[in-house]
């Protein structure tokens, strides 16, 4: 009897996952999507526990309990600015699960050579490399490690030979019974390659990398589906794999770069070469008082947030500024660059946390046409994504990158700690324009200062 019900449970679980992703396309249905996804996962777990070959329950239930007991507080206690780190950490655990299952299946010794073993090798390779890569990404995002790209001579050669060696050993295991040292060596190489993959990647490239690791975790789960002959795993893994892949493609496009360019760090070297040539040039600066009076007399304002806003935790003060300006009848909108922040959509989450209505958050293509009719563009903690050199200077490493046209607004104000260049290491032409005012200081304190002035002037 139970054998007839089980496929139906798995089928329903697959429908749940598909609807979950589908309903994410709109903020109005997205929460429903999460609920249906949770139901799908619950069905998947129950459907698996009921399977006749599962007989030993005690450790499974203890494991489910421990996992929930750690996962729930992690999700609730992490501040919203830490979402990228949490996602990276969560990836690491998911990928480790796939990798350990692959290992257990391998040592069970019942997997036939050829296609099934190939799937196992792929599952373990992606599982182990995603585990270590995600841990490094976590360490960088949490700033346990330097976020700058760490490069050394011959890095790409070392990384690629590790990957090649892992693939060669993997191929051997697929083709013929391999000696006992083969699998441990394979694990070590996969884990080593995972570390090497992320070490040269700088903070600003994290959105692409996190999306890519997400995709790997999905493909590892799908490969496990082939090993265990389980279609639910294949469907969920494929959905996840393509979601991660398409997001990382969107991120790459937004930076006008290719995958290989992001992963093999050509940008890091270019940036290092460019840093030395930054010359001192005069800029105009202003105080919170002056900034407040300019904002007060504006009719339309576009705020451009960047990673600096997240670092300074300035989103709540920005919300106060938004309130103060909106109350005066000033039209305030937010321009969100696709790669602003440390993961795709990072800025939207922070501004939503500060209770800014999401219909005021506009993506690049929607808002770029509005800048010429805008009185003030207020740049908060963003740099390379508003650099007009990307449009004009063919020799610049960021030439061709789609940017927000802040420079086309009537007045541009930039809140920034100092004149130091951004991640790309190149000077920003925007800062030297005649209609640009630099507002030097911590983003949170500066915005607080403007809000105070605005409150006082009434």
């Amino acid at each position: 009897m139970i054998e007839n019900v089980l496929p139906a449970i798995y089928l329903l679980a697959s429908v749940g996952f598909i609807l979950a992703v589908k309903w994410m396309n709109n903020p109005a249905t997205a929460r429903r999507g999460v609920i249906i996804g949770e139901i799908g996962m619950l069905l998947a777990v129950i459907g698996t526990l009921l399977r006749p070959e599962v007989v030993e329950y005690r450790w499974i239930l203890i494991g489910l309990g421990i996992g929930s007991a750690i996962g729930a507080p992690l999700a609730y206690l992490m501040p919203m600015t830490a979402v990228p780190q949490l996602t990276a950490l969560s990836h690491a655990f998911g990928a480790l699960a796939s990798a350990l299952i692959g290992t257990a299946e391998y040592y069970k010794g019942e997997i036939p050579l050829g296609f099934p073993m190939g799937a196992l090798v792929l599952e373990s390779l992606l599982g182990f490399l995603t585990t270590t890569a995600s841990i490094i990404a976590f360490a960088k995002l949490q700033e346990l490690m330097p976020t700058r790209p760490m490069t050394y001579k011959g890095q790409n050669v070392v990384s690629l030979s590790m990957l090649t060696a892992a693939i060669v050993i993997g191929g051997w295991m697929v083709a013929a019974p391999a000696p006992t040292w083969a699998f441990p060596a394979f694990i070590a190489l996969a884990m080593g390659f995972g570390i090497m993959l992320v070490i040269p990647i700088g903070g600003a490239d994290m959105p692409t990398v996190i999306a890519l690791l997400n995709s790997y975790a999905g493909v590892a789960a799908a490969a496990m589906g082939f090993v265990l002959n389980n279609r639910l795993l294949i469907i969920a893994g494929a959905l996840n794999g393509s979601a991660g892949l398409i997001l990382s493609i969107i991120m790459c496009k937004a930076m006008n770069r290719s995958f290989t360019n992001v992963l093999f760090g050509a940008f890091g070297q270019l940036a290092a070469a460019a840093t030395g040539t930054v010359a001192q040039r005069p800029v105009r600066s202003a105080t919170p008082d002056e900034a407040a009076s300019i904002l007060d007399s504006a009719r339309s304002v576009i705020v451009i947030p960047g990673y600096g806003m997240a670092v300074a935790q300035a989103q709540h003060k920005i919300r106060e500024l938004y309130d103060a300006l909106t109350k005066r009848g000033i039209d305030v909108k937010f321009a969100i660059h696709p790669v602003a922040g440390r993961m795709p959509g990072h800025m939207n989450v922070l501004l939503a946390e500060a209770d800014i209505p999401y219909d005021k958050l506009l993506e690049m293509d929607e808002i770029n046409g509005d800048f010429p009719n805008t009185d003030v563009a207020l740049v908060i903690g963003a740099n390379d994504v508003v650099n007009p050199l990307a449009r004009t200077d063919k020799t610049s490493p960021i030439y061709g990158t789609p940017i927000l046209d802040a420079d086309r607004a009537r007045t541009v104000m930039v809140i920034k700690r100092s004149m130091s260049p951004g991640f790309a290491g190149i000077d920003n032409e925007l800062y030297y324009m005649n209609n640009t005012l630099m507002l030097f200081g911590d983003a949170k304190n500066f915005v607080a200062g403007i809000v105070k002035e605005l409150a006082g002037s009434h």
Partner: protein, 98 residues
């Protein structure tokens, strides 16, 4: 048709479906989308249960399976909860204030 051949068809169709669905997601929700798909990738929990619940499993298999169950569950729970926590914050209109 062999079972893995059938599986490849399933994989291909699901991957294309995923592409079409994710392409439509507004950039506004890219972060929640990522944590949701992160939670879905924790479907590995199914494999972990199968491995650790088998009748004649070796000690190694039980230990690896047990750790895998913990890791995958952690991923499921953290992934879904953080997604929901984020989505709760997305509001179209400001709350009425007096």
């Amino acid at each position: 048709m062999q079972s893995y051949e059938f599986g490849l068809y399933v994989f291909m169709l699901a991957a294309f479906l995923g592409f079409e669905l994710v392409k439509r997601v507004s950039p506004l929700l890219h972060t929640p989308l990522m944590s949701l798909s992160n939670a879905i990738s924790a479907i590995a929990v199914v494999g972990a249960i199968l491995i650790s619940g088998e009748k004649d499993a070796s000690t190694l298999q039980r230990v690896l399976g047990f750790v895998a169950v913990i890791c995958a569950t952690l991923n499921v729970v953290a992934g879904y909860l953080i997604t929901d926590r984020m989505l709760k914050m997305f509001r179209k209109r400001e709350p009425e204030k007096k």
